[in-house]
């Protein structure tokens, strides 16, 4: 398959333009040759006109392509392109004129063929200059375009296209229709030429350059136009190509737009510094609001702030003072002033009204602005603004000028805005840091949660005479509930459930202490009462004064079928006697651990032994379960617990445990959450 080569618009249009121009030259010269020799070649001028139009169009396509292919060209570069093309056409035209001047009245000077050749060269260069500039001007006019301007421009291009064909109507002679068309297009050009929005964006220097370039373009336009007019008077040209409505209209348009641009640029010169200033302010504002980036610090924000404020107010000197948590007042940014001088001036300023009214702890500092006269070190006016985040003044910015009343209202406005924005940036920065810190705490808590989970046993010790299961849930990430088992002998098991007062992290720490106490004491195989006494003693040394731990400790002997137990302030164990078919709370006196921290505690803790039978059930729990309350502040309570388990006594321990938890949550309602840790152990004897 034959691959079509990629069509390169630029090259193709350039080559065709050159070929068309050569064809035009050839046709015209052939005609002149025929006329001169009375051969009557009979080539009608319409052929030339058609070729001329084709030439216009190909040149247009070429420039449209090359100029628009580079979208990011600066305005100045565009104007220079126009000026340079004009200069080229001008120079070539001058050279031709010079050549004829040198030839004088010689025979060669009168040769119509040579003259015609140069006429075509001039025609081509003028066309190139005009069309390329047209396309350049289009870029300028359509800068910040609206739909209306685009439509207007498109209409203009259509009219230009139509004007090319006008030649077939009047054969490039000056008549009323020509004049009418010309006037119409001039008016259209004027209405287009008011689109000069690009001018303010030039800097002062660029404006001067563009004025120069426009002058060049104007001169070229005027010269080339007169040159063109001079041809229409000569008899040497047989087919007039240049008295074309299209070219004349283009001359008009380019001249008018260049003139407008030149004048407007000239009048814009004095105000350009204001526009530049505003533009810098806008950019500074943007920098301040974007200044919080990863890795950037408050200091960088303040650095931008002082520079922005200095440039906005044309201040001669300035500095920023901030409060550092560790170092106290610090000067962080100092501009155009020595430290010794600065210290002197600050002392002076602080003792001068209105600056002496400033107070660091004024909650309304955010809206304060201190401005006044000073006379120290050559400075005559001063401005001071507090820097405030979150109602706290963290610093001050000082600006000094060597003139009296150097800060006007506009400057104050813009500086207040800068300061406000900088403060927001600093605040954002601080909030971000806080958020990162909080995130870290959260992670730490998650670690704590994992560690605490691992403190609760995965498997509970038992033998074939009883089954056991346990469950614990903290209200917060971590909690103070605890349960564990240990095998003492072949048929003897220790079971403990405990609850540290309070909840959350502090309770969690004490819960782990309780685990340590249990694991140590259980090695000594103490009786339940002994366990309590020793645990109380141990905890007395390490528990904060207002904290206590409640616990129930029991020893199950599956050989003797006995349960020996002791209670230390803990919720009484619920026991189901399968023979009597009765649920009861195992009542025994016993004080919580850590309440009495002397030997007197021994008087307040007791021990009891009961016998169990197969099918008996035991439910151990913490107060979070019975104190769980519903939306009416009603507690789940001991009676409800008893009734609930009564219905399910013949089920498996896991099932009973699940039903209790479900029952509690059903009671408190869907929208309530438990505000205390709760734990549960169910033991069933076989």
């Amino acid at each position: 398959m034959i691959k079509l080569p990629k069509i390169h618009t630029g090259k193709l249009s350039l080559i065709s333009a050159v070929l068309i121009w050569l064809a035009l030259l050839f046709v015209d010269i052939t005609r002149i040759f025929g006329e001169l020799n009375q051969l009557g070649s009979g080539i009608s001028p319409e052929y030339s006109y058609a070729l001329e139009i084709l030439f216009f169009i190909t040149v247009y396509i070429f420039y449209d392509y090359t100029i628009n292919s580079n979208k990011n060209t600066e305005f100045l570069e565009l104007i220079w392109r126009g000026a340079s093309t004009g200069l080229l056409a001008l120079t070539v035209s001058l050279i031709i004129r010079g050549l004829y001047f040198l030839l004088g009245d010689g025979k060669l000077a009168m040769d119509p063929l040579l003259r015609n050749f140069f006429y075509h060269v001039n025609f081509a260069l003028i066309t190139i200059f005009l069309i390329s500039t047209l396309i350049l001007w289009r870029r300028l006019i359509l800068y910040q375009k609206t739909k209306r301007i685009v439509q207007q421009w498109q209409a203009f291009e259509v009219i230009l296209l139509m004007s090319m064909f006008f030649v077939f109507l009047n054969n490039n002679s000056l008549d009323y229709s020509f004049l009418f068309g010309m006037v119409f297009m001039f008016i259209f050009s004027i209405s287009l030429s008011v689109n000069l929005k690009w001018i303010p964006y030039l800097t002062f220097k660029e404006k001067w350059k563009s004025i120069l370039f426009f002058l060049i373009i104007l001169i070229c336009t005027i010269y080339l136009f007169t040159q063109l007019l001079s041809y229409s008077d000569t008899e040497l040209v047989f087919v007039n190509l240049t008295d074309n409505l299209f070219l004349i209209a283009l001359f008009g348009f380019i001249f008018i737009y260049s003139l407008f641009s030149l004048l407007v640029t000239l009048f814009n010169l004095p105000t350009s510094s204001v526009f530049e200033q505003k533009l810098t302010e806008a950019i500074n504002f943007q920098r301040l609001s974007q200044s919080i980036k990863p890795g950037q610090s408050e200091n960088q924000v303040l650095d931008i702030l002082i520079d922005s404020c200095m440039s906005a107010s044309y201040a001669d000197a300035g500095w920023i003072e901030v409060i550092d948590d560790n170092l106290g007042l610090q000067i962080v940014h100092r501009r155009n002033i020595k430290e010794t001088e600065r210290a002197k001036i600050q002392t002076h300023v602080e003792s001068t009204s209105p600056f002496n009214a400033f107070k660091w702890d004024n909650p309304k500092n955010e809206f304060e602005l201190y401005q006044g006269r000073i006379s120290q070190g050559g400075f005559l006016s001063a401005l001071m603004l507090p820097l405030v985040t979150n109602n706290q003044t963290f610093g001050r910015i000082f600006l000094l000028k060597e003139v009296k009343e150097g800060f006007n209202k506009e400057m104050l406005n813009i500086i207040s805005t800068f300061v406000g924005q900088a403060c927001i940036s600093v605040e954002n920065h601080r909030l971000l840091n806080e958020a990162i810190q909080n995130e870290r705490y959260k992670e730490e808590l998650q670690i704590a949660q994992r560690v605490q989970r691992s403190l609760l046993p995965e498997k509970l010790h038992h033998d074939e005479y009883f089954e056991i299961c346990g469950f614990s849930e903290a209200a917060d990430e971590v909690g103070g509930d605890y349960y564990e088992t240990q095998q003492l002998k072949e048929h003897e098991f220790a079971v403990i459930i405990g609850d540290v007062s309070g909840k959350g992290t502090s309770a969690a720490f004490n819960m782990s202490q309780m685990k340590g106490v249990f694991q140590s004491l259980v090695q000594l195989h103490p009786s339940p009462r002994d366990f309590m006494i020793k645990a109380n003693k141990a905890l007395s040394f390490c528990l904060e004064r207002q904290l206590f731990i409640t616990t129930t400790y029991l020893i199950i002997n599956t050989l003797k079928k006995t349960i020996k137990f002791s209670r230390a302030g803990h919720c009484p164990t619920l026991y189901y006697d399968a023979k009597l078919k009765r649920w009861d709370y195992l009542s025994i006196d016993g004080m919580g651990l850590g309440i009495i921290r002397t030997d007197l505690y021994e008087d307040f803790v007791h021990e009891k032994t009961i016998n169990f039978n197969p099918q008996d059930l035991m439910v151990l729990y913490t107060d979070g379960l019975v104190e769980a309350s519903n939306e009416h502040r009603e507690e789940f309570g001991y009676e409800r617990l008893k009734k609930l388990v009564d219905k399910h006594h013949n089920k498996q321990p896991e099932e009973i445990q699940k039903l209790i938890i479900e029952g509690v949550f059903e009671f408190i309602g869907k929208n309530q959450r438990l505000d205390d840790d709760y734990s549960l152990m169910v033991i069933k004897f076989l």
Binding site: D499, S501, G502, K503, R545, Q546, L547, F548, T550, A568, G569, H570, C571, P572, D589, G590, M591, G592, G594, I595, I596, F604, D623, R633, E635, G637, D676
Partner: protein, 112 residues
Amino acid sequence: MLKIDIQIEQQMHLLILKGEIDASNSVDLDSAIQSIFAQDCSVILVDGRELDYISSAGLGVFMSYLDDFQEKGIQIFIFGLAPKVLQVFEILGLDKLISIRPNKEDAMALVG
């Protein structure tokens, strides 16, 4: 919500507790007892008639002052506790250390 009121009646300090004592407001109870300590006092009567709930943190406050009461010879009595609240004191064993009476008269009778 917890409302604490302190009244002085015949050289006795009456500590009136209304509402619920939990971890968030147990500090208030603590400072109330502190302020009684600051004054010259020998008997504290705690009016618990309108106390709806006391958490372990609230019990901890009472507990932490037991030694101080004994040391300074201050007698403390609680009266009028709702059964539910009384049960909390009993389960923990605090009723063995602080005299709890059903009403003010019974509590006053113990003063001496």
